[in-house]
């Protein structure tokens, strides 16, 4: 006997889900731009496919990123997700080996114990019974932890977590019920037929001693029904709830590994990203606007929800520092900044920039190093002066681009969403820079550095001044002496998290003094709060954010706060009790 009506809810739910998911994923894949599809094809039909498979296994099944965030949270998630996966795999292998057929009914692995009472002829029956019971125990421990997390999320490394919507609550209830119901159903079947492992078998012994067999026979069928209905409920609700991340994430990780990025709002990759968000709420604790200003609309969880269901509103899109802290914290590895930037481009898409007033470029000059200070550096002339002195002291063949007229690098315009206007500014700048035929372009502003390095496609080396100072110090052209001061180094978002440059500025600061150890540093460094991507910040907001960041930066009682960004310098200068200086100024002061 391989069939009973109670398998119907499970089977209908499973096939319905597979149909819906195939339809959705096919639609998203089709809606991808042509170049992206070509990129994917080139990646898939090569040996690099093994890289993708490896990444999917590591991330989808083992969840490296969640373990890195918090070990207990990682165990909770892995025990349920990986445990369940192994239960399915184990059940499939067990049922196929037992029946000696490669193909069997899809419900057999799930309800194996009900259909196979006597497995004396099956050599590995005991081994499988042990493995399956062990896996069920692992999953149940995960469910127990998940229940405890609802009461106390703090031991899982999360101060705040998300509130569940009604469909989510029903789905999570069904998910939590699936495994205890399976345990109960298998135990009672074992009580009747003695086919359980160490867990269900011993539970079965206890039950069969306490309850009469007639009663057990009645309860048994009801429990298998309940187990099947719980599975159906979960499958039926999955596409409408946060659990959509389970199937989507596997695809998303593969696509991300193939190098695909969200190109514009609403395209296939964006859909994969927004549906991969599990609304776990890990990003909430990382957001400074939420922690210090008590705002919550722009949190990636709620923003992605808006992106997923309806048009997100202006505040969700523009009230954000784009510091990238949530992207680092996200256990799914979503590209939150890119999705938000694409949405800005869509919302503010009309480009009417009128820059015909920019002077024509006709002078051709030759220089080795071209120094571009940047708008924000001009608001802090000390940096500019220090750089001039340092470059002269090092005897570099350099030219100060801002001696003649210079304009904005275009990144602030890009951040506002007007990509076309930013392109116009970039085109002018590119011509201007290349008319000097430099070998290296040095800039003092991480905002300019990021856009020069990423958007300009310059055929020359682009360097932030901290990187260039490191070279000058290493080659012995600059010889700063150790002053014995202790510094606290602040990682600017655009240089650190968004461009991945942590070591060079630290090397430069260490050549002058020592750096104090602080808790939130490098990729976890706080934003100064003055980000140009933030369009809804009042002056008070900025002061509060800068003060909170200062508290962290001054943990080790430093003599001086050092930063590599003129904008951060400006933000901290107003609120700091200890002196704040740019990395160039510090080096200049220490010159022999």
């Amino acid at each position: 006997m391989n069939y009973h009506p109670f398998v119907l809810p499970f089977t209908i739910g499973l096939y319905g889900l597979i149909l819906v998911l195939t339809f959705l994923f096919a639609r998203w894949m089709i809606s991808m731009p042509k170049e992206e599809k070509r990129k994917l094809r080139r990646y898939v039909f090569s040996f690099r496919i093994f890289g993708i498979i490896g990444e999917v296994i590591m991330e989808v099944l083992l969840h490296r990123r969640i373990f890195r965030k918090n070990a207990l949270l990682g165990y909770m998630h892995m025990s349920i997700a990986f445990g369940w996966f192994l239960l399915i795999v184990g059940g499939t292998v067990e049922s196929k080996m037992h029946s000696h057929h490669a193909f069997n009914e899809p419900w057999i692995p799930i309800f194996y114990k009900y259909f196979v009472h006597n497995s004396d002829d099956f050599r590995y029956a005991e081994t499988f019974a042990f493995i399956m019971d062990f896996l069920l125990l692992v999953v149940l421990s995960g469910v127990g932890l998940a229940l405890y997390k609802r009461i106390r999320s703090r031991i899982f490394g999360m101060k705040k977590t998300t509130r569940q919507l009604l469909p989510d609550k029903v789905a999570i209830g069904a998910l939590w019920l699936i495994f205890p119901l399976r345990l109960a159903a298998e135990s009672i079947t074992s009580a009747l037929y003695g086919n359980g492992g160490f867990l269900t078998g011993s539970l079965g012994e206890v039950i069969s001693a306490a309850v009469s067999h007639e009663m057990l026979a009645q309860v048994e069928l009801n429990l298998w029904w309940a187990y099947s209905i719980a599975l159906f409920t979960f499958f039926a609700l999955l596409p409408f709830t946060r659990y959509m991340h389970i199937p989507t994430e596997a695809f998303h990780i593969a696509l991300r590994k193939a190098g695909l990025k969200p190109q514009k709002s609403g395209d296939g990759m964006t859909r994969f990203q927004t549906h991969s968000c599990s609304r776990c709420g890990v990003c909430i604790d990382s957001c400074q606007l939420n922690a210090h200003l008590k705002r919550s609309q722009m949190l990636p969880v709620s923003y992605f929800f808006g992106e997923r269901t309806h048009q997100p509103d202006n505040k969700q899109v523009y009230d954000c520092l784009m510091c990238g802290k949530c992207t680092v914290a996200c256990p799914v590895g979503l590209d939150i900044n890119t999705v938000r930037q694409n949405r800005r481009s869509l919302m503010s898409g009309v480009n009417g920039g009128e820059y015909s007033y920019l002077p024509a470029i006709n002078k051709e000059k030759q220089t080795q190093v071209l120094y571009f200070a940047g708008c924000m550096t001009h608001l802090n002339p000390a940096i500019k002066k220090s750089m001039e002195n340092l470059l002269n002291a090092a005897g570099v063949n350099w030219f100060f681009l801002d001696k003649e007229e210079t304009i904005c690098c275009g990144r602030p315009m890009k951040l506002s969403g007007k990509t076309g206007d930013a392109e116009k500014l970039m085109k002018w700048n590119r011509e201007k820079i290349m008319s000097y035929h430099p070998e290296i372009l040095v800039t003092s502003c991480p905002i300019c550095y990021k856009t020069f390095a990423e958007d300009y496609n310059l055929p020359i080396k682009v360097m932030h001044h901290s990187q260039y100072l490191r070279i000058l110090i290493e080659t012995g052209k600059l010889k700063p002496r150790k002053t014995g001061q202790t510094f606290s180094y602040h990682d600017p978002c655009d240089l650190g998290r968004l461009s991945g440059e942590y070591e060079d500025p630290r090397f430069v600061v260490r050549s002058v003094g020592s750096i104090t150890l602080i808790k939130e540093t490098r990729e976890k460094a706080l934003c100064c709060g003055s980000s140009l991507a933030h369009f809804h910040g009042s002056d008070l907001d900025r002061v509060i954010l800068a003060e909170e960041a200062l508290k962290v930066l001054c943990q080790g009682n430093p003599d001086k706060l050092v930063t590599a960004c003129p904008l951060c310098l400006k933000a901290f200068n107003g609120v700091s009790e200890i002196p704040v200086a740019d990395i160039a100024t510090v080096v200049e002061e220490a010159l022999e």
Binding site: G352, P359, L379, S416, L532
Partner: protein, 113 residues
């Protein structure tokens, strides 16, 4: 032009018809970016502006146009802005200039596609 040869010209009528001017933009801005009301026209924004170094472009003048509701002048001027944000930091009162410019540009471009 011909009148320039003489070194003088007839002055065009210079009056502003407040009754006819459409102040919707100002009301919209006051609702979405309340800091527009605290501008006291000191001109720090224009002094630091890199666009103003190249061409006659003044954010404080745009603020005046916005308050008066002179949309033609705003539309003529506002697209010269490079959004660099220097004015935002130079402003002694903390007017969120970049948001004002962004809202204004999107408002005007939606009205006149």
């Amino acid at each position: 032009m011909s009148h320039e040869k003489f070194g003088f010209s007839a002055v065009k009528p210079r009056f502003i018809e407040y009754d006819k001017n459409d102040r919707t933009l100002f009301y919209l801005l006051r609702r979405r970016e309340p800091s527009i009301s605290i501008c006291f026209s000191c001109g720090s924004c224009s002094a630091t502006c890199p666009a103003n170094a190249q061409t006659p472009f003044s954010f404080s003048r745009i603020m005046l146009y916005i308050r008066r509701g002179e949309k033609v002048q705003i539309a003529r001027e506002i697209n010269k802005c490079m959004m660099c944000g220097k004015c935002r930091l130079a402003c002694p009162k903390g007017v969120n200039t970049r948001n004002i410019i962004l809202i204004t540009r999107d408002f005007l471009q939606k009205r006149t596609p």
